[in-house]
């Protein structure tokens, strides 16, 4: 399982967004470096533009996507992926997540129950086009590891 390091600042932004947006799904991008291990240095929330059913769906506009690529370019960071929340559901990717999943990106999912974070998992497509879990390492807190299972079929 590949590791993904999430720095404290980025984690705070993601968790705050997930809890404040509850009972709706939140979404955003994260940026960092892609060396042997990915490191998430910064996360930025974006609007969930889905018009209905935001408790169970999210969508990011093309304009926000373009801005995210520009931001990464300007900052000299890599756009590493997308985070979103699963209100009252586990942090496991759904069929909907899989259908629009892109290669390369990490997908961080936050499970939120009653407006409180349950756990944070990260997933990435493997060469077979399935999600494989990445081991989340919380920086400043290296022994606090969120793992659900070793792979997800």
């Amino acid at each position: 399982m590949a590791d993904i390091i999430i720095t404290e600042n980025a984690r705070k932004v993601i968790l705050k967004d997930a809890e404040q947006t509850y009972p709706h799904e939140c979404c955003g991008f994260f940026y960092g470096t892609d060396e042997d291990t990915r490191t998430v240095l910064e996360a930025i929330p974006v609007e969930n533009t889905k018009e209905e059913n935001r408790e169970r769906r999210f969508e990011i506009s093309a304009k926000d996507y373009l801005k995210a690529e520009q931001y990464a370019d300007e900052k000299g960071l890599t756009l590493l992926g997308v985070y979103h929340s699963h209100p009252e559901h586990p942090a496991i990717p759904s069929e909907h997540d899989l259908r629009q999943a892109l290669p390369y990106f990490s997908y961080i999912i936050v499970s939120v129950k009653k407006a409180k974070t349950v756990n944070v998992l990260s997933w990435k497509l493997n060469d077979q086009g399935r999600f494989a879990e990445e081991k989340v390492i919380n920086q400043n807190n290296p022994f606090d590891v969120d793992v659900f299972l070793s792979s997800y079929q």
Binding site: Y65, H86, H89
Partner: protein, 92 residues
């Protein structure tokens, strides 16, 4: 002539290049130049019928080519074409 911006998740198919300089004078031809140079990206842009995939949008500047002249949209030297993957999902 136009510059095509490659989205980060597809750069593994363009030798990690973030942009591509095309010499064509419309969007469709510019994208064809890209896929001829980097064949690995083709399946991520087009479906089996040769149409731009359902979850991919193509922008010229700030505009979706669907609001312009689709793949016939003319491009000039200063034109920036962006390939934009649709980002969406949900919990169940």
């Amino acid at each position: 002539m136009a510059k095509i911006i490659i989205p980060t998740p597809l750069r593994k198919f363009t030798d990690n290049q973030s942009s591509f300089q095309a010499t064509a004078n419309n969007v469709g031809a510019a994208l064809s130049e890209l896929t001829e140079t980097y064949p690995g990206i083709k399946g991520h842009l087009y479906d089996d019928q040769g149409q731009v995939r359902q979850f991919i949008k193509v922008f010229v500047g700030e505009d979706d080519i669907k609001s312009l002249d689709n793949e016939n949209t003319a491009v000039e030297t200063a034109t920036v074409i962006s390939i934009v993957p649709a980002i969406a999902g949900g919990c169940c």
